[in-house]
């Protein structure tokens, strides 16, 4: 190796170390500093949601900062108005749910016992099963943790409420400059590949997050209106819960419908009411699957159903419900990265 080649290799190594070091440092800050991960997730979602509006305003000749301030203030106004309208309703429903919770827990217990005995008689006791023993402690754990951690969660929310908009604002104004600075550390031999990967992942994430958000809002709205027409209690909480869990493929819609069914069961709802609830949740899913997914999501993330299920299982084991929600975008970003790297290293000459 000639001295000039040695100098090239040395420079590339140094740049690579700096680039990977910066990425690792950023990853550590996001995952290790308290409230940072959730704040970053909210900031990312808000960034992808607001960036098309910022681009449109910038196209009209406004500076990037001013083009960011306008949709930012509009979004703050919408969130503020929604908070004023819905927070009293939400707090009231949460308080009622908390006081009625033992009743629902008892109903869930009874339901599990019934299910266990029915399955047991079906299997002629050949293979003894213990659904209640397996699921009940978990449900109890989740429920107790939810209400115990609610005050802590609310205090954390205030930190996130300050941090997430702050991060979003700077992502919108300086995000591109920041990623360009980070890309300047990339060695020359990987530069085009990294730049293109960054662009592909960014485009895919933007499309995916916007599509999922529209899906969740539509599903949540259908369920909210349906439950309101049915005069079912906790309509807002149940719709928010179903909308949030709808981002988890396959499992989310089922998990989202369970609380409504359990509440109906515990309140002594008749079979007609249960049927109506199933119909409302079913209708939301049909509209989602038939209308929204083919137009919004399918073209953005092309993952095999087995990959999706595996990703959800791994996500749930690593980070619980949060892991289930973020696993699909993470896996699709990894897929894009692997394909690009594979092409770069193997599919060299055509």
């Amino acid at each position: 190796m000639s001295p000039s080649e040695r100098a090239i290799v040395r420079e590339r190594r140094i740049k690579l170390i700096f680039f990977l070091g910066s990425l690792i440092l950023l990853f550590l800050v996001i995952t290790q500093v308290q409230n940072m991960l959730i704040s970053f997730l909210f900031a990312f979602v808000s960034y992808y949601l607001l960036s098309p509006a910022v681009d449109i305003i910038e196209r009209r000749g406004f500076s990037r900062t001013l083009a960011t301030v306008i949709p930012f203030l509009f979004a703050a106004l919408v969130v503020g108005v929604c908070a004023i309208i819905f927070s009293p309703m939400l707090v009231n429903q949460l308080q009622t749910l908390q006081s009625n919770f033992p009743k629902y827990l008892y109903a869930a217990n009874y339901f599990l016992e019934n299910l266990e005995s029915q399955i047991g008689s079906l299997m002629q006791n050949v293979y003894p099963i213990n659904i209640k023993g397996t699921i009940q402690p978990q449900i109890m754990g989740w429920a107790t943790a939810f209400f115990q951690k609610l005050p802590e969660f609310i205090s954390q929310s205030f930190t996130i409420l300050f941090l997430a908009p702050f991060l979003t604002f700077f992502m919108l104004t300086d995000g591109r400059d920041f990623s360009r600075k980070l890309l300047s550390f990339v060695p020359n031999n990987f530069f085009e590949l990294t730049l293109n990967l960054n662009h592909q992942i960014n485009t895919q994430m933007g499309g995916f997050i916007r599509a999922r958000l529209i899906e969740s809002i539509v599903v949540g709205l259908i369920i909210w209106v349906g439950l309101l027409i049915l005069d079912f209690p906790y309509a807002l909480i149940l719709a928010l819960f179903a909308g949030l869990l709808n981002v988890i493929p396959y499992v989310g819609p089922v998990l989202g419908a369970l609380p409504a069914l359990l509440i109906s069961f515990a309140s002594g709802g008749n079979s007609a009411e249960i049927l109506w609830i199933i119909s409302i949740y079913g209708l939301a899913q049909v509209i989602d699957t038939v209308v929204l997914v083919p137009f919004l999501v399918a073209k953005i993330v092309d993952l095999h159903p087995v990959t999706v299920v595996l990703a959800i299982i791994i996500g749930s084991q690593l980070m619980g419900i949060l892991g289930m929600i973020i696993c699909i975008p993470v896996v699709s970003a990894l897929k894009v990265t692997f394909i690009a790297l594979y092409k770069h290293f193997t599919d060299f000459r055509t």
């Binding site: 196209r59 400059d177 300047s184 020359n188 031999n189 085009e192 730049l195 293109n196 662009h199 092409k343």
Partner: protein, 175 residues
């Protein structure tokens, strides 16, 4: 440095030269001052050591390079059918102000048709497909101006290639 004689009020001399370099390039020659400022923020300035590969033939390519400083050698690699060995031939040497790799800006799944190697210490301005998309999204007028010029460049290349092929065919027919 002599502070008495040094021009302390020279601002952004580096950026100024970058703007000038861009303005000299046919793709950006139609841009207004404000449009040029946006492009300046978006392009990627890269430095290369002598003999360093800028890209290799067959690699995925996503954009073009403008030579801001130095010279770049373009090689075409061919496999000799008899021996099976790869032989590279110097096609051209590009100098300051020249640009190359522009086809990758518009071609889907573009592959580099030649290898580019820095002849000496080089500074290149990289303008890639994601950058072109960003310009088009943030300032469509600037995007259209660049695309029109790009179309002109590619059209000229096509005419030149067609003329060359026609003359070669004529030569072959006469012999």
């Amino acid at each position: 440095m002599n502070l008495l004689w040094e021009n302390l009020f020279r601002t952004n001399s580096k950026e100024k030269s970058l703007a000038q370099k861009l303005k000299q390039n046919v793709l950006f020659s139609d841009l207004s001052i404000s449009e040029m400022k946006l492009v300046e923020k978006i392009v990627n300035v890269r430095t290369y050591r002598p003999s360093e590969h800028i890209f290799r033939q067959g690699e995925v390519g996503v954009g073009m390079y403008i030579i801001a400083k130095g010279c770049v050698n373009i090689y075409v690699e061919e496999i000799v059918p008899t021996t099976g060995e790869t032989k590279s031939a110097l096609v051209t040497q590009l100098k300051e102000g020249d640009f190359f790799g522009d086809l990758a800006l518009v071609e889907a799944n573009s592959r580099r048709s030649a290898t580019a190697i820095a002849h000496d210490e080089c500074t290149l301005i990289g303008f890639f497909k994601p950058d072109l998309i960003e310009v088009t999204q943030r300032n469509p007028t600037a995007g259209v101006k660049i695309l029109m010029r790009l179309g002109e460049v590619l059209g000229t290349r096509l005419i030149e290639t067609t003329t060359k092929i026609t003359s070669l065919k004529k030569e072959k027919a006469t012999t």
